[in-house]
């Protein structure tokens, strides 16, 4: 009986309309208190002031696939600047009929990245397929074998160049950074000081100074007759720069290792090399995966600086389109699209890093 009465009672007494549903939610999250209500109203006012004109500019009044002259007639955004020059912006001066090659290379890269997302797939074979993938990508870009026409690296540009600089930059910087981090933790004073000076000096200067060095001073370093191409020189600068940051991240992981790990490895009779390879590094590197991904994100963003030493990366191809009289004056639209490309890349990486962080911290709890 009592149960029945209870049921009827709860059936009859519904919560007030103002505390459930949309109204309840708004009351709890938007209008809880005078200050918050004022904030909400101000924010909505600002959004209402800016969003509709922006949508109007971007979608309603915009020109999508016209000539530059027709664009000037339209009062909205001129997305034609992107659509008419899409292939040049993405691929730069790569020969038009061979542009499928960088496209396939990028597909391979995205495929590998996508497959590597899942940590269950991480194995020795994935490592091998990365190596093979990178070689195939290099071959597709360079050509000269298997009937592919050779393409000089001065013609590489656009998005493939941006990706190449960041992916190869990080792949090469990672082992160097690990060595520097180990050196900095070493008991040998001489080695430690060399590593400290290198890491602190590189972290203290802006990337642009290293890029200047690569474009102006590197040629002086080499004996006469030996020349590097410009992309490789910039790549070396990016590697040297990124390695210092990776070293700091890895050092964080090494410091996080408890002393017991070293002692246990030592009591097993492992020497330094085996201790590091089998005991310390596998654990330390796992802890620092999330910060390593954020280094990857900044390396990806930082490749845009090569525009200053006149390499034809994504930003430079866009600027060159904008310096064409037909498309002059549409920088906002063009930069907007480039920003979206960078945003998508960085956002997916940072999302992944957050997901990984959760997985890793969940793994530690049990």
């Amino acid at each position: 009986m009592q149960d029945m009465a209870h049921e009827i009672y709860t059936d009859d007494m519904k919560p007030p309309v103002t505390s459930v549903g949309v109204i309840g939610w708004a009351k709890a999250n938007l209008f809880n208190g005078i200050f918050n209500s004022i904030l909400t109203i101000i924010t909505i006012f600002i959004l209402w002031k800016f969003l509709p004109p922006f949508i109007r500019w971007a979608f309603v009044d915009s020109a999508w696939n016209t000539t530059g002259a027709a664009c000037r007639e339209a009062s909205g955004a001129c997305w034609s600047v992107i659509f008419s020059n899409f292939r040049f912006i993405i691929f730069g001066f790569f020969p038009y009929e061979s542009q499928w090659r960088p496209f396939v290379a990028m597909l391979i890269l995205f495929g590998l990245l996508f497959y590597s997302r899942n940590r269950n797939h991480w194995s020795k074979y994935l490592g091998y397929s990365w190596i093979i993938g990178l070689i195939v990508m290099g071959l597709l870009m360079k050509g000269g074998l298997f009937g592919l026409a050779s393409v000089d690296s001065t013609k590489w540009g656009g998005l493939p160049l941006t990706l190449l600089l960041s992916v190869f930059g990080l792949t090469a910087a990672y082992p160097l950074g690990v060595i520097l981090a180990l050196g900095r933790q070493s008991k040998m004073n001489g080695v430690r000081w060399i590593c400290i000076v290198y890491i602190e000096a590189i972290r203290g200067v802006p990337l642009i100074s290293l890029l200047f060095m690569s474009s102006i001073i590197f040629p002086l370093f080499l004996p006469e007759g030996v020349t590097f191409n410009k992309i490789l020189r910039a790549q070396v600068a990016i590697i040297l720069f990124t390695a210092a940051y990776i070293a700091e991240v890895v050092r964080g992981g090494l410091q996080g290792m408890s002393k017991g790990q070293y002692e246990a490895a030592e009591s097993m009779g492992l020497n330094y090399y085996l201790t590091m390879r089998l005991v310390i590094l596998p654990q330390a590197l796992k802890i620092v995966i999330p910060p390593t991904v954020s280094i990857l994100i900044s390396a990806f963003k930082d490749t845009s600086l090569v525009v200053i030493i006149a390499l034809w990366d994504l930003l430079k191809t866009t600027q060159s389109v904008l310096s064409n009289p037909e498309w002059m004056g549409f920088s906002r639209e063009a930069y907007f699209v480039v920003a979206i490309i960078y945003f998508l890349g960085c956002f997916s990486m940072s999302n992944y890093s957050r997901k990984l962080e959760k997985e890793l911290s969940a793994g530690e709890q049990h």
């Binding site: 999250n29 938007l30 809880n32 918050n36 904030l39 909400t40 924010t43 909505i44 008991k187 040998m188 004073n189 001489g190 080695v191 060399i194 602190e200 000096a201 972290r203 203290g204 200067v205 802006p206 990337l207 642009i208 100074s209 200047f212 060095m213 102006i216 001073i217 040629p219 002086l220 370093f221 080499l222 004996p223 006469e224 994100i297 963003k301 930082d302 845009s304 600086l305 525009v307 200053i308 930003l315 600027q319 004056g329 920088s331 906002r332 930069y335 907007f336 480039v338 920003a339 960078y342 945003f343 890349g345 960085c346 956002f347 940072s350």
Partner: protein
């Protein structure tokens, strides 16, 4: 047993000797590499017959610099040009850091707001700004200036006394008056006296337990002293409004498009990172701390001042400094939009004199000085703020 003890350990199995040999090897390798690079460089320089050394610093620069905090002309030396560049870097970094910290704090607090809309907007801002290269943002703001804004004749005036055009932004400022110098002096004096007042008040509180209203007295000193100076000079209120003369504005204060684009780009980009730092710092103080402070009867202002801030700042300051340093280093991107910062001036110098090694070395040295002095300050602060376990 005796056998093993007396047997001489071969040197490659003795860790101490092995370490020495290994280090000698590393030093030799580094030394040889350095020797190889330097000897190559010397040979190459000789072939190209480029002058070396620092003599060029005293030569006439013969290039103009758009904006300069100190007197400079094309007849000045390269040294002076480089000093102008360094001052411009310091100027844009200092102003940028001040605005960034304020904006970043506001956005970081907004991210933690209980107001859903405000918190989401702050979240979107942080995510979007962090994920777009700062160089692209600089180009974007610069493009807005020279493409979207009208010429000086049709300049926009969103607020009375401020003019926006493709030549920059012109502000109305108080007309120059000798009083300003003394007002500035008054602010400096006020800051120093408040500093000593605080020390005295703290000492007195430690000794006698009496609380001195430092905050109120401090604020009124910092505002009051310059105000009194201003009144003492007869309260000059003349304003210097920018006027259109020919094709450009005259009078007032004019900020160039390059400077504003650089400042906007750096501030908006770095503020997103600062916001994350501030958010993490505030979240690091557990709720129990606030509750405990309230339970012993502290007023909300004191809870913030004595309990939350000291703990949050310990978490916030180190990454905040590295963000400030990042802003300073990123200001070197000014070279891409033509603001005459140190890198830009040094780059012009390299192009004119051909002395690339000295030029790049100067760039690195100047930024190293900035970052090393900052990290020295950081170490000092960390020592001071570190948790003293008792």
């Amino acid at each position: 047993m005796d056998d093993i003890q007396t047997e001489k350990i071969p040197f490659w199995l003795d860790p101490k000797k092995r370490a020495i040999i290994f280090q000698i090897g590393v030093f030799c390798a580094v030394g040889l590499l350095a020797y190889y690079l330097i000897s190559n460089t010397l040979i190459n320089l000789e072939k190209q017959s480029v002058a070396t050394g620092w003599g060029f610093l005293q030569k006439e620069s013969s290039f103009e610099i758009g904006e300069s905090p100190i007197e400079y002309s094309a007849a000045s030396t390269y040294l002076r040009a480089l000093i102008v560049g360094a001052l411009n870097t310091l100027k844009v970094s200092f102003i940028g850091i001040v605005i960034t910290v304020i904006l970043g704090t506001i956005i970081g607090v907004a991210r933690l707001s209980t107001n859903w809309l405000v918190s989401k907007m702050a979240g979107i801002y942080i995510e979007v700004m962090q994920d777009i290269p700062v160089l692209l943002q600089l180009f974007f703001w610069y493009a807005i200036f020279y493409e979207a804004l009208p010429g000086p004749r049709q300049a926009l005036a969103p607020i009375k006394g401020i003019f926006l055009c493709n030549r920059g932004v012109a502000f109305t400022v108080p007309a120059s008056h000798p009083a300003h110098k003394y007002m500035f002096l008054a602010i400096v004096v006020a800051c120093f006296s408040v500093y000593f007042l605080r020390r005295w008040a703290k000492k007195r509180q430690d000794e006698t337990g009496k609380i001195f209203p430092t905050f109120r007295v401090g604020i009124s000193t910092i505002i009051g002293l310059p105000l009194l100076t201003w009144l003492a000079f007869g309260a000059p209120i003349a304003m210097d409004t920018p006027k259109l003369v020919g094709f450009n504005f005259k009078g007032g204060m004019m900020l160039s498009p390059e400077f504003i684009a650089l400042l906007l780009g750096l501030v908006l980009y770095t503020a997103a990172f600062v916001a994350e730092v501030v958010r993490a710092g505030i979240q690091s103080v557990s709720k129990g701390q606030t509750e405990a402070a309230m339970a012993i009867g502290l007023r909300p202002a004191l809870v913030l001042n004595l309990v939350i801030l000291p703990q949050a700042l310990r978490v916030i300051i180190p990454p905040l400094t590295s963000q400030m340093l990042n802003l300073t280093k990123n200001s070197s991107l000014a070279v891409a939009i033509g603001f005459p910062d140190f890198v830009s001036v040094a780059n012009t110098t390299i192009n004119q004199t051909g002395q690339s090694i000295e030029g790049v070395a100067l760039i690195m040295a100047v930024y190293l000085i900035f970052s090393l002095s900052t990290s020295a300050f950081m170490n000092w602060y960390n020592k001071k703020a570190a948790l003293v376990e008792r």
